[in-house]
């Protein structure tokens, strides 16, 4: 499900029944159920049933994922709680290689007979499809880890925090916004806990506990005289953290034209600022189209990184596995093989990292039992690697998978998903102000907005939340109707300055869509504030009568 679909649903007044009908969202449960866990010994027993059943039917490789996916949504608008939903999705998915082909089946009936039947169905599907293969599945070797576990290093389990505290927070946020002149505000808390168990014929039994949180809001301000309206969305980031993300501290704030947040988030303060800024946007100057130097805040740049670096370096896209849906990639294998493909300027260093603390994509092991790590993707502006999984590693001559396999649910087949992909901070001491000072004619963009990119990741268009004109090294005032268009290689080669590590922050996507049937994944993208020269800016205002 795409984020906008979810927002569309909530805009229509989502009911618990509707949420439960969304694949992967699971079914509603009582809040306290989220604190229960499934006994690891029982999970091992269930996994062994599937492994043995698949082997007996002729599978040459089998992996089993037993997943308990917990979600909590607290949804409010103005002075009302619209919905509080706790969902649980619990079941088992089994993936096999038989006669050289993949097969997959899943069941939410976890008795021995149903598990064995699912494993047998996966083998039957694999065998049926083997006649359609051009070459058999080739898996990178993977050692078995035995019985291991990994837990996200959170300070406060969000599911332990009373609902009342969450409701009070959101209603408080709404009250601040309304007091500040907002006409409407919708605020949300999304919390996710993935309790995942993986077992395979390689001899791994891996138990993992993953947490994610996303507090956000959407403020609308209407000009009664003209009927024009403007919106301002939260400047929060979805994070791989517990409830501690909402316990803001002074040291986590960066002061400037608006307060920016680093690793902790002050939702009340942001709502106050948001209401004021939504009003300012109505009165703001409409942008003159043309070339501008852009100063992009991490709260905005994460999405540009995601679309123009994260996706085109996914090896399945490069190879054509996503050709029918998400598309392919301009970063073809020959460019990587040349070892000199110029992706961006020398300042551009982009790292893939599945272990970054607090990130959405951090796990100990991926969904095919590979221990996770980090690696360079773009080094000094040159393409040096991709993101690969076990059945692709041999294509890059890698001895092992890079650990990028993920499924969004027990009922979904795992496949290549994006690692956290981040632009490294500048090596020289440089602040946001230092970057702005050097710009004659530019725009400072904060927050993510509209986003679109072509199916090979060349041409893109992005908007934001807040736009400030820069004239002669100073902020001259707010702008509106801004979007910039560029081409990936051109854009990253126009990168001329990156603030230092002290400004480094994570942004991210809670609902990144890919695959058929479509699956979502959550992934973070870090950067410091960055300058790009001579980017084409368009004006997005129109009239419809």
């Amino acid at each position: 499900m795409k984020r906008r679909d979810f927002l569309y649903l909530t805009g229509m007044g989502t009911t618990a029944a509707m949420l439960s009908a969304i694949p992967g969202m699971g079914r509603p449960i009582a809040p306290e159920r989220a604190l229960e866990t499934v006994d690891v010994a029982l999970k091992k027993q269930m996994a062994d049933v599937a492994l043995n059943a698949a082997r007996a039917k002729g599978a040459t490789y089998t992996d089993v994922r037993i997943g308990r996916y917990l979600n909590q949504f607290v949804i409010t608008r103005e002075d009302k709680v619209q919905n509080i939903v706790n969902t649980e999705s619990y079941g088992l998915g089994v993936r096999v290689v038989a006669q050289g082909s993949w097969g997959f089946a899943a069941t939410d009936k976890l008795d021995k007979d149903s598990i064995a039947k699912a494993a047998e169905l996966a083998v039957a599907i694999a065998k049926e499809n083997s006649r359609l293969l051009t070459e058999p599945v080739q898996l990178a070797p993977q050692k078995g880890y035995g019985e291991v576990s990994w837990k996200a290093p959170i300070e406060k389990n969000a599911f332990e925090v009373p609902i009342k505290e969450k409701v009070d927070l959101l209603l408080g946020v709404n009250a601040e916004a309304m007091k500040g002149g907002a006409d409407y505000i919708n605020s949300f808390l999304f919390m996710v806990n993935e309790q995942k168990y993986f077992a395979s014929t390689d001899g791994s039994y891996i138990d993992q506990d993953i947490h994610r949180i996303w507090p956000t809001f959407f403020i609308t301000k209407i000009d009664a005289a003209t009927g024009k309206f403007e919106t301002r969305n939260a400047l929060s980031a979805p994070m791989g953290m517990g409830y501690e993300y909402l316990y803001a501290r002074p040291q986590d704030k960066i002061q400037g034209v608006t307060t920016l947040y680093k690793g902790r988030y002050d939702m009340l303060e942001d709502a106050r600022a948001g209401a004021k800024q939504a009003g300012e946007k109505i009165k703001a100057k409409s942008v003159e189209p043309g070339k501008y130097d852009l100063i992009l805040d991490p709260s905005h740049l994460w999405l540009t990184i995601h679309e123009s670096t994260g996706h085109p370096t996914e090896l399945d896209r490069v190879l054509g596995y996503e050709a029918n849906f998400a598309g392919t990639s301009f970063l073809t294998l020959d460019k990587w093989e040349s070892k000199k493909f110029n992706y961006g300027s020398k300042l551009v260093n982009i790292v893939a990292d599945k272990t970054q603390v607090g990130s959405l994509g951090a796990v100990g092991y991926d969904d095919e039992g590979v221990k996770c790590g980090q690696w360079d993707v773009i080094k000094d502006g040159t393409l040096v690697s991709y993101q690969a999984i076990r059945d692709q590693a041999h294509i890059l001559g890698l001895p092992a998978s890079q650990g990028c396999c993920y499924a969004d649910n027990w009922s979904s087949v795992q496949f290549q998903r994006m690692a956290n992909i981040s632009l490294q901070a500048g090596k020289e001491k440089k602040s946001i102000d230092d970057l702005i000072k050097g710009v004659q004619k530019g725009i400072y963009i904060i927050g993510d907005g509209s986003f679109s990119i072509d199916q090979q990741r060349y041409n893109f268009q992005f908007g934001g939340q807040l736009y400030y004109e820069i004239k002669d090294g100073k902020i001259a005032g707010p702008l509106k109707d801004v979007a910039y268009q560029s081409n990936t290689q051109e854009f990253w080669n126009s990168c001329v300055g990156i603030a230092d590590q002290s400004d480094y922050r994570l942004g991210g996507s809670f609902f990144d869509g890919k695959g058929q049937p479509q699956q979502v994944s959550a992934v973070s993208h870090g950067s410091s504030t960055t300058r790009f020269n001579g980017v084409n800016v368009i004006n997005t205002s129109r009239k419809i009568g």
Partner: protein, 444 residues
């Protein structure tokens, strides 16, 4: 567990309801069996089968609602889930917008279920894909495609006497055929309730033909052009109008249908008078559910008639507040067309661009419904009624409202699938003047 018959579902829901002690209780039961097969690089990549059953209990005390769910169907579990929903309701804050559950309703007999689709086997899926792969082999193209079939049972019952039941089937297929050198790409998509209507070979031939013909595309300047949008391209733009028909958003002043001073565009002419859009759950080419998720009947509704906004969708709460009929959102939309085929539309075009498909559609400005996105998988230049040459893809910035005011001609309606939402529609190909392409893309 196999999908329950109407009698079995009714008996189960009655039993669950018998445990209720709340002021009101409503139960929703859903069972789904899906199968899919995905292929790329002329070879099958992933394939699976998934079966799920879910029972949702909603219990209300006054305006306090609690919801709980299970997927176990023994008596003890059924009673437990009702108790759980009641406990949650007693703990919940009052929701001033809660509207009491509906009483008994009359529904038309749904026509969404086709036994042939419900009976699909892994072999039939593989056979359908084998036909597509044969086309790739014959045309020396590279195939990537996806087929997914779904069989669903939905039932609901509440303490006010409402009971609803339906079953449905569906199969969606999409195929992309690229040239071996990666310089050309073509696409086709099909959606049906009846699997026997799906011709994967024919759809793959169309995609391969487009892929081969789109190789070595030329770049032409971005700007305003007359375009012919094939149904798959039109659908992803028009559905933004369908998704935006919510009355509350319009009344609150934050939609493209809002007017200054709390007014809306309901009853006003918004687009060309040849535009007629409606939904009809009993349309034989696009049957949908005869009841909405909250039990409201789904009936034939005109949304845009002769260019005028005729109806908006309402939640039951907002309809009560406004004193109007609570019309639920549609599950599928039909746009009336003309009599010309796509070929005839092309023949009648002096200069224009044929667009097979649009991609990565995102809203830019909700006030004007301005969208951005790109052409993809088969974009061709038309001159004097003929396709002259393939052209490079464009990014567009356009509002479907402006687009429907620049309507030149409509072709014959056909069923298509939105690549953005997976929703099926009946939509004609359409010729539009002054469609705004804002930049070029090198993507193939």
């Amino acid at each position: 567990m196999p999908l329950l018959t109407q009698d079995e579902a009714q008996a189960l829901l009655k039993k669950v309801l018998s445990y209720s002690k709340a002021d009101e209780c409503e139960i929703n039961l859903t069972g789904t069996i899906t199968g899919n097969i995905r292929y790329a690089r002329n070879s099958v990549s992933t394939s699976g089968g998934i079966s799920t059953n879910t029972l949702v209990v909603s219990s209300a005390y006054g305006k306090k609602l609690g919801v709980a769910t299970i997927n176990e169907f023994d008596d003890a579990s059924l009673e437990k889930v009702v108790r759980r929903a009641e406990e949650l309701a007693q703990l919940a804050p009052e929701n001033p917008e809660f509207v009491s559950f509906l009483g008994p309703q009359k529904y038309a007999e749904p026509v969404m279920f086709v036994p042939a689709t419900a009976a699909i086997t892994p072999k039939q899926r593989a056979d359908a894909v084998a036909q597509s792969l044969q086309v790739a082999k014959d045309t020396k193209t590279v195939a990537a495609g996806f087929m997914e079939d779904t069989t669903t049972m939905n039932a609901m019952m509440n303490s006010k006497g409402l009971f609803a039941y339906n079953t449905s089937t569906g199969v969606n297929f999409s195929i992309t055929m690229r040239t071996e050198d990666g310089k050309g790409s073509g696409y086709a998509t099909r959606g049906y309730n009846d699997f026997t209507k799906l011709d994967t070979k024919k759809a793959s031939q169309i995609a391969a033909d487009k892929g081969l013909k789109s190789a070595t595309a030329r770049a032409i300047e971005p700007g305003k052009y007359t375009v012919i949008l094939e149904p798959a391209a039109a659908a992803v733009l028009l559905e933004n109008i369908f998704f935006g028909l919510d009355a509350r958003q319009a009344d609150e002043g934050r939609s493209f249908l809002s007017q200054p001073g709390g007014k809306t565009r309901l009853g006003e002419k918004l687009v060309d008078e040849r535009v007629n859009m409606y939904s009809d759950p009993l349309n034989p080419e696009l049957p949908t559910s005869t009841w909405a998720g909250d039990g409201r009947p789904q009936e034939k509704v005109s949304w845009i008639e002769k260019g005028v906004i005729k109806n908006l969708t309402y939640s039951r709460y907002w309809a009560e507040k406004k004193g109007v009929k609570a019309i639920p959102g549609p599950d599928g939309v039909i746009m009336e067309g003309g009599t010309k085929s796509l070929e005839e539309l092309i023949k009648g075009t002096k200069k224009g661009i044929l667009v097979t498909r649009l991609w990565y559609i995102r809203p830019v400005d909700p006030q004007t419904l301005l969208l951005t996105g790109l052409t993809r998988d088969g974009t061709f230049y038309i001159e004097n009624g003929e396709i002259k040459f393939p052209i490079k893809n464009f990014r567009f910035n356009e509002s479907p409202v402006i687009m429907l005011n620049n309507l030149e001609e409509l072709g014959k309606v056909e069923r298509t699938v939105s690549v953005e939402s997976n929703v099926n529609y009946l939509i004609p190909p359409m010729k539009i003047r002054d469609f705004t392409f804002s930049s070029l893309s090198d993507a193939v």
